[in-house]
């Protein structure tokens, strides 16, 4: 069964450093997303991407964040200068042409900013 994959599973970085989180969505999907979950809090939407451009972003997704789909398979989230409060689980999701907006999630990357 096709699935969304994410690497690395755990990333530890120093405050102020850049990190890139990697995702490989399901191959025939058209819509791509990043969400995050800070420990003990809700899963929060960050950004959606369709037709090679951002379709929606949350207020969390400020100038420090960017997304890219550099080739036909990868979808990356970059944080330019990490802050302590960026520590969270980051989930990538993708969706095909689905009537109910059913999104498929990857296993997540745990980002720890020290």
């Amino acid at each position: 069964e096709p699935e969304v994959t994410q690497t690395p599973s755990h990333q530890v970085t120093q405050m102020g450093q850049e990190v890139i989180l990697h995702c490989v969505p399901i191959s025939n999907h058209l819509y791509f997303y990043w969400y995050r979950q800070i420990l003990g809090q809700k899963v929060e939407f960050l950004v959606s991407f369709y037709n090679n451009e951002i379709s929606e972003k949350s207020e969390i997704f400020d100038d420090q964040f960017s997304v890219e789909r550099p080739d036909g398979s990868n979808f990356t989230l970059k944080i330019r200068s990490t802050k302590l409060e960026d520590s969270a689980m980051y989930f990538c999701a993708s969706m095909g042409q689905d009537l109910y907006n059913e999104q498929f999630f990857g296993p997540g990357t745990r980002l720890t900013v020290l």
């Binding site: 058209l30 809700k42 899963v43 929606e56 009537l99 907006n101 999104q103 999630f105 990857g106 997540g108």
Partner: protein
């Protein structure tokens, strides 16, 4: 922003009995409602969904009920099995294709053998 709320943080149920999880929402523009299950160190896994034009959807042991006038939905799991022990998230989205999901805070379910 509490557009989707799950008021019960946890639920304990005996194996074989029914689990009922509840979810309330405030945004009348939501058109699709989804339930996800999440195990520790894994991503959310889709369980079942319902459109706002329906009031019930069933898939095996899982049934979702929607009361649009009350802005309330519930997930019934019957019979509950130990493997159902996980955190369950309610999520909602608008009608447009590709809309983001807005999640509730989750309910942790423990099914006791």
């Amino acid at each position: 922003d509490q557009q989707v709320k799950q008021n019960s943080p946890s639920l304990s149920v005996q194996e074989g009995r029914i689990s009922i999880l509840n979810c309330d929402y405030t945004n009348s523009m939501f058109d699709y409602f989804l339930w996800y299950k999440k195990y520790p160190a894994e991503g959310p896994t889709f369980l079942i969904s319902i459109s706002s034009i329906k009031d019930k959807n069933e898939d095996g042991r899982f049934t979702v009920f929607l009361n649009k006038s009350a802005k309330h939905l519930s997930l019934h799991i019957v019979p509950s099995q130990p493997g159902d022990s996980a955190v369950y998230f309610c999520a909602a989205s608008g009608q447009a294709a590709g809309n983001k999901l807005t999640f509730g805070g989750g309910t942790r379910v423990l099914v006791k053998p």
